[in-house]
Amino acid sequence: MSSKEAYTDIEIDVLRELGNIGAGNAATSLSTMLNQTIDMAVPVVRITSFDDAVQSFGGAENLVAGVLLSFEGLEGVEESEGIKGMLLFIIDIESADDIVTMLTGGMYEPGSPEFEEMKPSVLSEIGNIMGAAYINSIATLTGLALNISVPYLSTDMVGAILSIPIAEFGALSDTVLFIEESFKGVGKDINSSMSLFAGSETIDIIMKKLGIEL
């Protein structure tokens, strides 16, 4: 295991392309679920200090909903073993209400007890479907065998939410690497993003698998 803070331009390009493909598929699944056009920007590969990572999500106390999924290489499959990453779907609170309303056909008013009771499982399922689309496309592209966890939800300050991937991947260095992709609804505001977090060991495996000589 090594900790590294510097990646070559080629590695960054490859990571951006991975994010583009993964998030593209995630956006398509979101668009299908909502029957709505979703715009996405060019993904950004960030290698930043922990505090700057939090700033890039609107500051520590920004209130959001987050769905977290972890993934890992299938054990026993030689070249996939050792892969470890997390996907984090972040959506601002108003957009979260909008998205749940759209998906449930406006059955309940946001804020009503029925709505609030249903919201966690609906948001978890959205994150789950998008995360699976993301990871499956990366698995197909790289030929890696990847396992994905069930979705976990937290509605809280984004700094507190980010403490989980940062603690997982920030042990060895004082930076964290993630590929961030933001989504916007066309017509309706759906401010959300999906980020892939991984350690340098995982990135090395992916590069090798894609035949990128370092």
């Binding site: 939800l153 403490s163 004082d174």
Partner: protein
């Protein structure tokens, strides 16, 4: 606010000034530890992310402020150098939440619990009493620590502000 000292992630700050107010934002699984000499009003706030630096000792230089074992020891030594007396120092801690839950039951990881357990272990080894605590559960916390009064204020979403 004048004299506000912001403590980042994997960071600690100390001060001899009674006007100092420390703040660390949005602790999730991380733990905030306030140490304060109640006589001289010399105090500090640390924000650790992981319990135990020794797990990573084979991987080269580490940031000592990131881990409970090294951060709290270093902050304690710094307070002593600034004139705090060990027998007067008390500790207050907050954070260490389990942030993520599954809608079908269960939660992700136990890093918050491990952080709290290890912070307590280090404080015990240093013989520093924990006089206030707001840890665990499933929500994030912003912590303010007032060097004049030794009050730890904990703010979170959907919960009342606590003054401890």
């Amino acid at each position: 606010m004048s004299g506000m000292l912001t403590v980042g992630i994997s960071d600690f700050k100390t001060s001899t000034s009674p006007d100092a107010v420390f703040v660390t934002f949005a602790l999730g699984s991380c733990v905030g530890t306030c140490l304060w000499d109640k006589e001289t009003k010399i105090g500090g706030l640390s924000h650790i992310m992981l319990p135990y630096s020794k797990e990573f000792k084979d991987f080269g230089e580490i940031n000592r402020m990131k881990f409970a074992d090294t951060a709290i020891l270093d902050m304690f030594m710094q307070l002593r150098r600034m004139g705090a007396k060990p027998e007067n120092i008390v500790a207050k801690i907050a954070g260490g939440a389990q942030m993520f839950q599954s809608s079908v039951g269960g939660s992700m990881g136990n890093i918050g619990q491990r952080n709290v357990a290890y912070v307590k272990e280090v404080l015990k080894q240093l013989k520093l009493p924990i006089v206030a605590e707001d840890t665990g559960l499933d929500y994030g916390r912003t912590v303010y620590f007032d060097n004049a009064t030794g009050t730890m204020k904990v703010q979170s979403i959907g919960h009342n502000v606590k003054e401890l």
